[in-house]
């Protein structure tokens, strides 16, 4: 049989398998009488088909990368739902078996409350070699990266970020909240990366098919299945093949993401502040999707157990206040978090009036049912706390025996929850609700193609200008308050008149540019020289760039946080922002706005990423040089090692 025929044959068989799988899945779902998961699976399958179609149809790299990311996420979700279905089926079967054998003891186990787990401010530091910074290679190696976060059955993906050697860290701004986590939760963080210059050919088909067929449908959880999908370092797995095990999809040509690093977080990593965790890195330097990761990921992982945020128990109580034996006071008690709040009446709690009494309920508290009070029908509840060496005991009583029982039960449950959730119950951790995001624009229309991919419409050039202007203000404010960083002097548009300050920028002398690998230039005022146009023969290029601050010596420009922010903004598709045409700044001398319309991208090309939309940005930047952007451009030009530095002596 011809190899091509064999290929077609295998594809045919895979399609049949796919249909069979779907029937199987539907059967399981029906038997479990769970239509919820079924709906979710159907939805994800539709999304996946859409993403495949989009991937096949789109021409722009950005679109393809986004579509590929959606595809990967859909696959991951389908896997998760499938494995959950399997788990539920197994549990059902186990239960039936247990009932039959009448072996089951009283199902009395206490289960801990669930919690909201939030992960935010993910930051993955990079570790570029020195040589990478100063190499004047033509191509800027860029990768598209994003993170996939999974907890239980929920999978979320972060936004995609473009990474090249100008970034020191990969930052994801997303805040992701998982709603139903148990104390034994495992939050898997996976970093996927895709080289941005890859040739999108489907030349690998036989290998992909082989990998699809070789993996088997097992009982393993979704995580393990995904693990087996990466058979070795750097072997690319196809997009469709990601879910090959259960639902093989014919491979779609396009950019493919590979797992670059992963880690698993659990309760012990939860803290109310930022922490660094180790990453397990897959792949090596030979892979196209490789990035030099430092080896850790920094993030904020917070958890809010329900016992801390919700009222676990409430009702009428009587509490003994003061020392008198007969001093019972009626209160309305609310057990929430680490306290039992006693309000004068129920309405007070709703009106947020201060409680009459607050009794701490924490790990140190001891609660016991007291001896039966001869006067009352039910037992008293004694709550003892240690307040600075002294033991303070409060005595409470419920109205009836049943109520007492309920309260005791609630207290035991609270203690159990606290013991399970440990550090999360010391204090309530703040979790910000993520702002409503615009849904990703991945709906395929028949025959319609996207010409421009809008990744996030809020990041237009106006907003960018505002961000930078605000940053400048912050810097200036800080400069007024404390000692300014030494590079702040670069932002001075009008430096003091003394000509011999080493930190000044040399004067700007414009002249027409004759060679395109241009030279970044900036304008500043300095002494009397600034106005004199240098009469040079036309064959010279004027290469003015600001000199280094003499006191600073050599320092890595990348550590500026502003730099990182600009890179992030640039990574979102505004590659034209950096190193492209710099408009001349209006220094002290005569302003020469339009004449000095020379310079273009720096000599090492392709720092500006993409095609279409970016040229508009650079044009915009060209015609409206605003103060904030100019200064920043000056700074960037100055600190870019690819400039030809000049020093005044």
């Amino acid at each position: 049989m011809m190899p091509i025929d064999r290929l077609a044959d295998m594809e045919e068989k895979l399609r049949i398998l796919e249909d069979l799988n779907m029937i199987y899945i539907r059967q399981i779902a029906l038997s479990l009488k769970d239509s919820d998961i079924q709906k979710k699976i159907d939805y994800e399958i539709r999304m996946r088909e859409g993403a495949c179609k989009l991937l096949a149809a789109c021409s722009q790299r950005d679109q393809a990368l986004e579509a590929s990311k959606s595809l990967l996420t859909c696959n991951a979700r389908i896997m998760a739902y499938m494995s959950e279905l399997q788990r539920m089926k197994e549990a059902q079967v186990m239960q039936r078996v247990a009932r039959r054998s009448s072996d089951a003891g009283p199902m009395d186990d206490r289960s801990p409350c669930k919690a909201k787990v939030a992960i935010s401010d993910l930051r993955i530091p990079l570790m570029w070699k020195d040589t990478e910074y100063f190499k004047n290679k033509g191509e800027l190696h860029r990768c598209a990266v994003f993170c996939l976060l999974q907890l239980g059955g929920e999978i979320f993906d972060t936004d995609m970020v473009m990474v090249d050697r100008t970034l020191t860290d990969i930052c994801f701004d997303n805040k992701i909240v998982f709603n139903e986590a148990s104390p034994g939760f495992e939050l898997r963080v996976e970093l996927y990366s895709c080289c941005s210059e890859e040739d999108y050919s489907a030349g690998n088909t036989p290998r992909k098919l082989a990998s699809k067929l070789s993996t088997s449908l097992g009982r393993s959880s979704g995580k393990k299945m995904r693990g087996t999908l990466e058979p070795g370092a750097c072997s690319p797995t196809s997009n469709g093949g990601g879910a090959a095990i259960l639902l093989p999809v014919p491979s779609v040509p396009g950019p493919k993401y590979h797992l670059l690093a992963h880690t698993t977080l659990n309760l012990s990593h939860v803290q109310d502040s930022f922490r660094t965790h180790d990453l397990t890195i897959s792949g090596n330097e030979e892979c196209s999707f490789w990035l030099p990761l430092y080896g850790g990921v920094c993030c904020r992982l917070a958890a809010q157990p329900r016992c801390m945020t919700q009222q676990m128990m409430s009702g009428c109580l009587r509490v003994k206040l003061g020392g008198e034996p007969q001093g019972w006071t009626n209160v309305y008690g609310v057990l929430k978090g680490t306290n039992l709040f006693c309000y004068h009446q129920k309405e007070d709690m709703e009106a947020n009036v201060e409680p009459v009494l607050t009794i701490g309920i924490n790990k140190e508290t001891r609660i016991r049912a007291a001896e039966k009070d001869p006067h009352s029908k039910a037992q008293n509840i004694c709550i003892s706390n240690q307040y600075g060496g002294e033991e303070v005991t409060h005595t409470l009583a419920a109205d009836s025996r049943e109520d007492t029982q309920l309260w005791m039960e609630a207290f035991w449950q609270q203690f159990y929850d606290m013991s399970q959730w440990r550090q999360c119950c010391d204090d309530l951790m703040k979790i910000e609700l993520p702002s409503p995001r615009k849904p990703a624009i991945v709906t395929p229309k028949q025959g319609a193609l996207y010409h421009e991919m809008v990744i996030d419409t809020s990041d237009d050039i106006g907003t960018v200008t505002d961000i930078l202007a605000r940053r400048i203000e912050e810097f200036e404010l800080r400069a007024q308050l404390g000692s300014p960083p030494h590079w702040m002097s670069l932002f001075d548009e009008d430096p003091p008149r003394s000509p011999h300050n080493h930190q000044h920028l040399p004067p700007h002398s414009p002249s027409p540019c004759h060679r395109t690998p241009g030279l970044l230039s900036s304008n500043a005022s300095l002494t009397s020289d600034s106005d004199s146009p240098v009469s040079v023969s036309p064959c010279f290029r004027q290469a003015w760039s600001p000199d280094t601050s003499s006191s600073s010596g050599r320092f890595r420009p990348r550590t500026l946080s502003l730099d990182a922010k600009l890179s992030t903004l640039r990574g979102r598709g505004y590659g034209g922002f950096r190193c492209n045409c710099q408009p001349p700044t209006a220094g002290s001398g005569s302003p020469r706005p339009t004449q000095t319309a020379l310079f273009c991208s720096s000599s090492t090309s392709s720092s500006s990423s993409s095609e279409g939309s970016n040229s508009q940005e650079s044009d915009l930047g060209f015609s409206r040089p605003s103060g904030a952007r100019r200064s920043l451009r000056n700074l960037r030009a100055k600190l870019d090692p690819r400039n030809w530095l000049q020093s005044q002596v």
């Binding site: 011999h500 300050n501 004027q542 290469a543 690819r642 030809w644 020093s647 005044q648």
Partner: protein, 125 residues
């Protein structure tokens, strides 16, 4: 100034003695330099050979000590007070010129016109 890789560089040089001007706490010479082995030589507008990573004078302040001493824009600095300037980083070059305890710097510089002049005068003979 011919540069053949592997062979010693020969050049016609001119001695220039610059007396630094004191301005308060600073000593200035009144010119700017560009170049260095850590810089990109392709961006040097003054060099003939675009792989030349030497230190060049990119600007001379009018009336400053350097101009008075005879330094011209486009000159390549070969030595400063005996220190070689053909194989140094940009920062090293700057430091050699701005030593606080030196009032005078003696430079050896070369420029294209020097060679032309010498050749012409040699031809005349």
């Amino acid at each position: 100034m011919s540069f053949i890789p592997g062979h010693p560089v020969t050049a016609v040089v001119q001695r220039i003695e610059i007396h630094k001007l004191r301005d308060g706490d600073n000593l200035i010479l009144g010119f700017s330099i560009g170049g260095g082995i850590d810089q990109d030589p392709g961006q040097n507008p003054f060099s003939e050979d675009k792989t030349d990573k030497g230190i060049y004078v990119t600007r001379v302040s009018k009336g400053g000590p350097a101009e008075v001493a005879g330094l011209r824009m486009g000159d390549k600095i070969m030595q400063v007070n005996g220190w070689d300037m053909t194989m140094v980083t940009h920062d090293q070059a700057r430091k050699k010129l701005t030593k606080k305890n030196e009032d005078v710097v003696r430079l050896l510089v070369t420029r294209k016109s020097l060679e032309t002049v010498v050749r012409q005068s040699m031809m005349q003979h």
